[in-house]
């Protein structure tokens, strides 16, 4: 923690970065995203077990980018998001400096190559609870699964906390925003909710870094991250491609290769 604060202070004082996006003290025991711009405020930065939200979503937020070069306190999923954003040309190398804290050690990663190298050493880990849920869903019959999601999505109020907190949902004009035609109904009735979440999962298949921030953001506790995890893992199984693995685009859902298993492409 101290190392991080010292580094942040140095970077800001020297002008190497204009803002450090990190975690700070929130309400009660919570952590909240903070944007440190003055070197003397580096002490506001915290890094502990409570820092689980993927902050990479702020790398594409206009007001934050406008500040100048950004440093970001990076948990493993944030590093993967940086790679995926780089692959999709949403950030340039000189705009971002990753401050990764791994096993109590601070690593300053200034290039996408450095981030790739580090990511390669971090095992993929989704929580045991999430793994258990995904396995359980996989063993359900179609109608059991349909009932499970109808029940969960019945609480959805279309607040889009999931979409807004996801680093990969950076589109300035989301599919939901299109009204000519209105592809997906806006209102939060059963079909409006189901279609939105299905489309979002499809749009994340092959791009999701499995940070789980969307599910954590949902105010009514719907485990929407399980949908995107499942879509992501399906792509991995079938095409051997995963989100956040490389700074070079390798997007299964928009790429055709001669050795793809589907016949129709030949």
């Amino acid at each position: 923690m101290e190392e991080l604060r010292k580094k942040a202070s140095e970077l800001l004082a020297g002008g190497a970065v204009k803002v450090v996006i990190g975690y700070g003290k929130g309400t009660g025991e919570n952590r909240r995203p903070i944007f440190v711009r003055a070197a003397e405020r580096a002490g506001d930065l915290a890094v502990d077990a409570g820092c689980t939200q993927n902050l990479a979503t702020y790398l594409t937020k206009a007001e934050v980018r406008a500040m100048g070069r950004m440093a970001i306190v990076a948990i493993p999923s944030t590093l993967r998001s940086i790679l995926q954003l780089a692959a999709e040309r949403q950030i340039r190398e000189e705009q971002v400096l990753a401050l990764a804290v791994l096993d109590g050690q601070l690593r300053e990663l200034a290039t996408f190559a450095a981030v790739e190298e580090t990511v390669a050493t971090i095992p993929d880990a989704i929580s045991a609870a999430d793994r258990a849920m995904i396995d359980k869903l996989a063993t359900m019959s179609v109608s059991e699964r349909r009932n499970f999601w109808a029940d969960e999505l019945g609480r959805c109020v279309k607040c889009y906390a999931c979409r807004s907190s996801c680093p990969m949902c950076y589109c300035e004009r989301c599919t939901m925003d299109c009204n000519r035609p209105q592809w997906i109904p806006v209102a939060s009735h059963a079909i409006g909710n189901l279609e939105y979440h299905m489309v979002r999962a499809m749009h994340l298949a092959g791009r999701c870094v499995e940070c789980g921030t969307c599910g954590a953001a949902c105010p009514v506790g719907i485990p929407v991250h399980l949908l995107t995890f499942y879509a992501e893992e399906s792509v991995r199984r079938q095409f051997g491609q995963k989100g956040g693995g490389s700074a070079k685009l390798d997007y299964a859902m928009s790429t055709f290769k001669p050795d793809d298993k589907e016949e129709f492409i030949r």
Partner: protein, 335 residues
Amino acid sequence: MTDRYTLSESGVASLLDALAKAGRRVLGPKKIAERIEIAEIKTAAELAKEGQSTVSAKGTVFPKVERLLKYRFEGGKNVALEDVEPNARPTVLFGVRPCEARAFHALDVVFNWDYKDKFFNQRLANTTVVAITCTKADESCFCTSVGSRPDDPAGSDILLSPLKSGGYVAEVLTDKGKALVALAKAAFQPLTGAAEVVPAATVAPAFDAKLLERKLAGKFDSPVWLEQSLRCLGCGACAFVCPTCVCFDIQDEADTRQGQRLRAWDSCGMRLFTLHASGHNPRDKQSQRWRQRIYHKFAYYPDRFQTLGCVGCGKCSRACPVDMNLKQHLVEAAQ
């Protein structure tokens, strides 16, 4: 003169029974998994005695989706309109917090501001509110900063206060409350004299709402709004869990034969809210939208409706994915 009764724990059971027999839907804060939701309450044990629901009870009178109109495309060029009545089931909201009960007024002033909204009015007319005073509060609560308190009777038809010995004192405040008691006379024992209630929670006032309103008048161009909203994601979580937020969208959904016009919750925090078809957006930046939220609830509402657009329940702060703590923001704004 308020009628006072005691309502024992078994009285609650018998009340719920009587309400079910009378065809009333009973909704209240129910503990489901790790959450508290406003859901159907069949037995007293289902009621969450501590904490508050994540999403407010406003869905009872202002649902997240509601049909306003239906129409059919008839042969040739004709359209036939079908008026729609709200599904205003007789409902008892049982066990909500006083802040929730008080919030209905903030909705009422908008829905009845010259044009009368029958959808809201019919549902409200068919809803009886039984609130339970708060004996605990948390870091996000700030009812005492907005002119209320944990045992505020405003907006309740019956206010229950927990007794030290178990059960409740029930204060019957309105005709609707009286009608409810009449449905379940056996459950309510008349009370005269004192009763030992559990003291209401202590919620130290964090700011002065009238001072805040005055300060806001001079703060429109302050950089504080950008600072506070840097982490805001522009989702609708705060607006949708909020018991006083009333902004809505109107959407047509149709096929070639028929369609419907729906009302759905909307949020001034979302970029699309004010976007013109031409592409011009009067509130294009998140800081402008955050400022609008504060001003609408704490400056424009008191100016136009003589009531605040906030009851200090704290649901927004608890629901926010990035910990936008409204109480903290308001304390800063009131400086």
